[in-house]
């Protein structure tokens, strides 16, 4: 715990210093905009004690972030956003957790970037997100962050909001066409004694975004050196992708990508990594104020297993050929939303079902309530009662179900 406090001291001091600078520099406000977002929630969930016994847990949690955006110069933008979550949890003592495992970090840097716009191009540098491809939960075109896993929070408005350090240049080639190049800094390889990332481990790529015959066409490529193989060794991979979006009665979108290693068994890697995500979205206006939206997404990995596998302790979760994400959302008035979101694994017939309600009560103030249910056998992708030998403290939090009630305020 002492080690943790030491590690957090510097960022906390930095945050306090940054806040003091912002609050005591009136000139800054005249050129920028400061907004604060507070989220507080109470989570009741069925989980496990360190010895594996199940119990009902009550976990208050919260996050807060402030975001400073410059607005003085119309050709330069900057954004700085931190967040913290509470409580901090050291689960080193939990069963199956590596020593020193700490979940829910106290402080994290969400965004810190500067953008500048020149007559013919614009640049972005810092920690931010680039939305490549299309998809709400599954997006095979997102080769930067990888949006194909099931570790998502379906209670969030943006289920994929991860950011990373990057440098990018965006060149418009018309009103609905642009090209974009990106460089991702190398990661430190402390195992080989490199405290800082080596230059030759830089990742980078680009994409083109255009529209033809009413269809959005996006294609790109990333040379990614941040990947590791099954032995946790770094590997360099080529990641091409293609993403299309259009409308035929409903809005539809489709993305596909593959990871091809620079060296090694390319054919096997292509089979293992080829994936295709597709979705349809449609809104039905029930009357002038209420509407329903329907979304169905799928993630298809044709060379993965179509048969249910029996899991054993220590083995990773099996990767099945198909995952589906159906979502139905009902908006009875413009400020209230009810939804059911499900990640369904049809191969092992298990699902994570999230039923939620959100209400925008006042300006910037929202109330929300969600219930999450896991349905499936003990060794399935999602399980009502996770098999004792498969339960992983830290990785698994909710055993059967959880209920969350929260408030969120932006001001």
């Amino acid at each position: 715990m002492v080690r943790l406090r030491e590690r957090l001291r510097k960022p906390v001091l930095f945050l306090i210093g940054a806040l003091l600078c912002l609050f005591t520099a009136p000139g800054v406000f005249s050129e920028g905009d400061l907004s604060l977002e507070l989220g507080l929630s109470n989570l009741i969930m069925q989980t496990r004690e360190t010895d594996g016994d199940k119990y009902w847990a009550w976990m208050p949690a919260g996050n807060a972030g402030f975001s400073f955006k410059s607005s003085g110069n119309k050709n330069v933008k900057a954004d700085l956003a931190f967040s913290f979550a509470s409580p901090e949890m050291d689960i080193s003592a939990a069963a199956g957790a590596p020593a020193g495992t700490i979940i829910t970090p106290l402080l994290s840097l969400d965004r810190a970037y500067v953008k500048a716009r020149f007559p013919w191009f614009r640049i972005t540098a810092g920690k931010t997100r680039l939305g490549w491809g299309d998809g709400f939960v599954f997006n095979s075109g997102d080769v930067i962050f990888g949006s194909t896993d099931t570790s998502v929070d379906l209670t969030a408005s943006e289920v994929r909001a991860e950011t990373t350090w990057l440098s990018a240049v965006n060149i418009p080639l018309g009103r609905f066409t642009f090209i974009e190049g990106i460089i991702l800094p190398p990661e430190a390889d402390t195992a080989s004694g490199e405290i800082f990332g080596a230059v030759d481990n830089i990742s980078g790529g680009g994409r083109i975004y255009t529209k033809a015959a009413g269809i959005k066409i996006e294609g790109g490529y990333l040379f990614d050196q941040r990947e590791t193989n099954s032995d946790a060794e770094p590997v360099s991979v080529h990641k091409p992708y293609l993403s299309l979006q259009g409308n035929l009665i409903a809005d539809w979108y489709l993305s596909s990508s593959v990871s091809l290693p620079v060296s090694g068994d390319i054919e096997q890697s292509a089979e293992d990594s080829f994936n295709l995500s597709a979705g349809i979205f449609h809104m039905v206006q029930l009357n002038s104020i209420s509407s329903m939206t329907f979304r169905l997404e799928g993630l298809y990995k044709p060379f993965h297993s179509w048969l249910e596998e029996v899991r054993k302790s220590g083995e990773p979760k099996p990767s099945y050929a198909l995952l589906l994400y159906p979502e139905i959302s009902y908006t009875p008035t413009d400020t209230v939303n009810l939804s059911i979101r499900t990640i369904w694994s049809p191969v092992d017939m298990s699902a994570m079902i999230t039923a939620g309600a959100g209400w925008n009560v006042f300006e910037g103030f929202d109330l929300s309530c969600y219930a999450v249910f896991n349905a499936g056998d003990p060794d399935d992708s999602f399980a009502w009662n996770r098999d004792d030998s498969l339960w992983k403290a830290g990785a698994d939090a909710v055993d059967s179900m959880a209920v969350m009630m929260g408030i969120n305020y932006i001001y």
Partner: protein, 246 residues
């Protein structure tokens, strides 16, 4: 007999100018739509959205070119930086925190903007109602001290948001001072009423308008125009993905 003829001739002479200068319902609506449509416009304003829990204020800047191109940027704190680009058949949404461009078509255009009683179609849709409705003048009234025609519009196409409209159009400046918007079966969906008329950039126009969605109880949206510049030079780039995602 002669007296009868003379009386008839005098009557015709008196009424002739009125017939000669009578204006049709189509022409009134065409002029009203023309008065509300500019080659280009740059504006800023606020939406005061009131329901039983109080009033939310959303501010915005907008740029429009013709009937089908517009860009709206929300400037109020809770939605700051969110932008909507409308082209003829599609909407692009931009959420700055997610750095995400979302393209939508079809029925998504009918969504209410930020919980208001105004849909994207209301805000940015084409205004060529004379070709989309059968129009008749049904009455004449006085609103806000201005004489106006009362017209009933019945849709002759299914692509319009409201099958029936009753509008009160100012005789002097062709401003729509009041409107009632109905379903095909005659149920009132929405009404609109101008609360204040003012002058901006040399144009007499509604600067404060209240819109009430009749499907919601105790709810209305007041649209306040803060600034308007019309027929100015707007670059093509304003209605582009580059500007949307900036």
């Amino acid at each position: 007999m002669n007296r009868k003829l003379i009386f008839t001739a005098i009557t015709i002479l008196i009424l002739l100018p009125a017939f000669a200068f009578a204006i049709s319902g189509d022409e009134i609506v065409r002029r009203a739509d023309a008065a509300a449509t500019f080659d280009t416009a740059e504006s800023s304003g606020e939406m005061h959205i009131t329901d039983r829990f109080g009033t939310k204020i959303s501010s915005f800047d907008s740029w429009a070119r013709g009937e089908n191109e517009s860009l709206i940027e929300f400037t109020s704190r809770a939605e700051r930086g969110q932008k909507v680009l409308r082209t003829e058949n599609e909407i692009y949404l931009y959420y700055p925190d997610a750095e995400e461009l979302i393209r939508m078509q079809g029925s998504a255009l009918r969504q209410g903007m930020l919980g208001s009683d105004i849909s994207y179609e209301d805000m940015t849709g084409g205004k060529d109602r004379a070709s989309q409705y059968s129009i008749e003048i049904t009455d004449e009234q006085n609103l806000l001290g201005r004489d106006c025609w009362v017209l009933t519009l019945r849709a002759n196409t299914r692509t319009v948001p409201y099958p029936k409209e009753i509008v009160w159009i100012d005789k002097q400046d062709y401003i729509v001072l009041k409107g009632e918007y109905y379903t095909k079966s005659g149920r009132l969906l929405k009404d609109m009423e101008v609360l204040e008329i003012g002058e901006m950039d040399g144009i007499t126009m509604a600067v404060e308008t209240r819109i009430s969605d009749k499907m919601k109880s105790n709810s209305n949206t007041v649209l306040i125009m803060k600034d308007l510049k019309v027929d100015i030079k707007l670059d093509d780039e304003i209605f582009s993905l580059e500007e949307l995602s900036w």
